[in-house]
Subunit: 193 residues, 2 copies
């Protein structure tokens, strides 16, 4: 049976880097950007649009997003992306063992036995440092931006899943990458796979 | 410098067992029941009373507990226990490296550098099984009892700390003992110490 590692993470917590290094160590694929390519291909939407709308609500409020942009049948473009994203994750999980970063893969694969559900956190200082120095993103008030990105991810999670984003109860293991460092996190997760 | 491991946990998640085995493996003391002895001695209250009132609110509501049992100076017996408990934890942490189970030691020692903050979860099934077969506790509806105990711990935490009980953000590592087993949790935590 294919064994999947899902990695959910706070914005700027190095969850993606941990996912990539972990996949490399285990000799399996890491779906992150490549997952977006697949979804973009299926929906016809631009990759950047998918990136935004498949993991973030447009505001920090799940309720506003629940109400926004619905057609006469009650569907929104965000729902369509959620559905394709969900199908794509299930297809990948049926095909191969792999790491999937973000996109609520933990929830999508909740009925699958062999999934290691990971959540990565980091201190605000480490996250700010990563956003500014590694992502080279300039959003004015970076701390405010971080809070908003987390809020939008949490709201998206609340809108489409019954997982409380970041609540330890919903994951097999949660680690603070700023305490242990990326390599130690990778080592521990590989030992648990 | 003394190095402390604080273990917070869901009721019935084997957090205490993990703490004891971890301390044994590392050759340090585990403060759980022995912490209660110290606090009982200092306050003159019965150990069972301390156990209840030093980690649980009387109801599942932090607000009711915040209002209940206050004298003319606004203090409650629960506040007194909190204060002595806090002092005792700080004294122990200054004296020796150790494991401290529960009692919000993570919050009490939040300004201390060398603390590994752990939170242990487990599936409802595993927790129910432990409460019934290992603790031999008979509370009628065990599932309801578990929910209430968690609710009372969360409310206590909300009343006295600024930690969101069980939110991965507030801990260095969170592990589900029903996924990995007690021994694997101990092994991972020992490797991170």
């Amino acid at each position: 049976m294919n064994r999947i590692i899902s990695i959910s993470r706070e914005y700027g917590s190095a969850g993606r880097t941990i996912g990539q290094k972990l996949a490399e160590k285990l000799g399996i694929n890491c779906y992150d950007s490549s997952l977006l390519d697949k979804i973009a291909e299926k929906t016809g939407f631009d990759k950047k649009y998918i990136k935004e709308n498949g993991e973030y609500t447009s505001s920090g409020s799940w309720m506003l997003s629940a109400l926004a942009g619905r057609d006469y049948n009650g569907h929104s473009i965000q729902d369509e992306i959620w559905n394709v994203q969900r199908e794509t994750i299930i297809e990948i999980a049926e095909k191969e063992s792999c790491v999937i970063v973000g996109r609520n893969a933990d929830y999508v694969l909740k009925d699958k036995q062999d999934v290691l559900r990971v959540f990565i956190t980091a201190s605000s200082k480490a996250r700010l440092n990563r956003v500014i120095n590694e992502y080279h993103e300039d959003h004015g008030d970076a701390a405010k931006y971080l809070r908003m990105m987390d809020k939008r991810r949490r709201a998206y999670c609340q809108l489409y899943t019954d997982i409380h984003w970041g609540d330890a109860k919903y994951y097999d293991i949660c680690m603070d990458s700023s305490v242990f460092g990326v390599d130690k996190c990778v080592e521990v997760l590989a030992s648990l796979y």
